[in-house]
Symmetry: C3
Subunit: 265 residues, 3 copies
């Protein structure tokens, strides 16, 4: 069932570059309800890809802001109970407005507050669910043995679970790892690439969700938005990894490469 790997070429496919050009033209407004530790990197990734980030988080502002945004990301990262309430409201509103939204069930599994919230948000049928293998297994009702931000399980072991999650939402699921996978329950596409230093910079996984939301906000179909985000990260990550000697230089080079992607090609 897996399609041939995507993005393994030395240069981005033309449709990736078209998607980037579209995002840069439309400047989608991406609303992120997310972990404090990842907020700055997520905003900078949205900006590097041509979008406009907004981190409006107060429960009182959700009702007015969700309709203004082009896409929404809900990431359970450093959840608070106030944050959980904003997230429930935002997800319900996005669903009812048919505003595209991505759900990142960070660290789901071991902790009841977020596991319960994740179940409720999943029932609202997010357009894209994105997680590492542990998170996707936990979401599918299996034990991912997650240690929070860690994926202690290979992505390949969560592909069936990803299919089940996609079946439940009727939409798209991404499993991240050394190779990323995107499935809608019927198709399964693999996106290899990237670089090991990506996992040494906090928030890169969260930022991939923000990247997918940029492409959702630019109007790409769900499956394409997810694959494009993974491919863009795979290319920029590989290039930045060639240049960097460690995670500090890598983080800067990665943003530069996202920004430069598609320039002059």
């Amino acid at each position: 069932m897996p399609l041939p790997p995507y993005g393994a070429a030395r240069r981005p496919e033309p449709e990736i570059l078209q998607a980037l050009a579209r995002a840069r033209k439309l400047v989608p407004l991406v609303h992120c309800l997310t972990a404090s530790v990842a907020r700055e990197l997520m905003a900078n990734v949205v900006l590097a890809l041509g979008g406009s980030p907004a981190m409006i988080a107060a429960d009182e502002e959700i009702e007015q802001f969700v309709p203004l945004a082009d896409a929404l990301v809900i990431n359970l990262g450093s959840l608070s109970s106030a944050g959980a309430q904003s997230m429930r409201r935002a997800a319900a509103l996005a669903s009812s407005l048919r505003k595209p939204w991505l759900f990142d069930p960070a660290a789901v599994g071991a902790l009841s507050l977020r596991t319960e919230l994740a179940r409720d948000l999943l029932a609202l049928r997010p357009d894209i669910v994105k997680g590492n293998a542990s998170e996707i297994l936990a979401l599918a009702g299996e034990d991912g043995k997650g240690r929070c931000a860690d994926a202690t399980v290979e992505a390949e072991l969560a592909l069936e679970a990803a299919g089940r999650v996609a079946g439940r939402t009727g939409r798209v699921t991404m499993v991240t790892g050394a190779t990323d996978y995107v499935t809608d329950g019927l198709r399964l596409m693999s996106v290899p690439g990237g670089h090991p230093l990506m996992s040494r910079v906090t928030g890169t996984g969260c930022a991939l969700g923000a990247a997918a939301a940029v492409f959702l906000g630019a109007g790409l179909p769900l499956f394409r938005a997810a694959v494009t985000a993974s491919a863009v990260f795979a290319f920029a990550g590989a290039k930045a990894g060639e240049e960097a000697r460690g995670p500090g230089g890598f983080a800067a080079a990665f943003l530069d490469q996202l920004y430069l992607l598609g320039e002059g090609s």
Copy 2:
């Protein structure tokens, strides 16, 4: 009414360098109540300019901390209702103690919680109000058509509104854009410079407010503090933009250039 543009020279004016030297000697303590996404960059900008940042935010600590600080920044960025209460208390206290403070009405206009708060804070007559064109128009009671962090309006279209805001506070207003403007309702000064990559790094606008607060905290007159901050950002931004190929490298180079400004000159 506009004075000749400021800071357009290849080297900073002597009075800019004097202001920097003064800040580095006095090490003003700058208290920031601000957006979580911009907190780290703001703190690092304060440090690069020779100040000392503090992000004390708990309502219970405002009463004791505001008197200790040399200047205060209130930025509506990622507002919460708890944050709003701290901000009201801090602004009232700063005003009554005649402690200099800067108000950044981030994303004001579309969202009632912050629009109402902005009206109340404006009535406390902040020493400097700093915003992009959309925010200044919204603050002046006109429709800025803002999309939050985005300025979708040219700075030049908000100059009259800026004059009205300055008239209402009796103090100074800054409008940021490709060229920044500073007005006290009588004088209007333009500060060109900077670099387009500045708008591709989250929090640079917020950090300009922190920079102005460093100069307020160092005892500069209001108009001079605002112009100095814009000029310093314009110089450092232009230099960093010459070196950088993208936003990741730019952010690091910008902090370096702020830090180096005035060294060896």
Copy 3:
């Protein structure tokens, strides 16, 4: 009573490299309850040293998460009253589970909320207490004249106070400054090195606490964990300082040097 300075050599001592190798093998899960401004740097320092950071902060999740982590950091940085409650719960639980934890009483002294909390947390006998001279003096009941993140007092003036704090917990106290000191009330070790640019990057002091927690989580004895963290920061800071011209480049180079430390030696 001071032992000969540690880490002054051109290359890390073999035991430092062994400790690093151990951390990289065991990948300790380090739970940080900490200031929002320092969260990203702390997470990235933990990752650069081979650990896995988690910033779980909701009071509802503390009970379930503390037992999963290998070490805990409690940093009073940008304290909120909700945060204070999570910290009390986490510290009590860590103590009762004999889970190693480090306490950073950031900005203690001038502000009652955190001064009272600090007293209570100290009574729970943290394994390591880490602070600048002002904070350690305040914790020992003397006036540190602190201006929050600033140490306006030389580390050397707080060594007696550090001994008293260590006497009270029966464990280890670190005093940070141009030279760091580690004491258990009997032994006192100095760790010179580092670079002045470290104090121009927000969160480096907080990140030293996270580094010590990595070594605690890897099972090192308390005194050794503290000395190793300071030595690692001293080496990486000195190397990064040789390369950097300002704080932006320094921050990236510092993470790179932490990551590279022990590679190829």
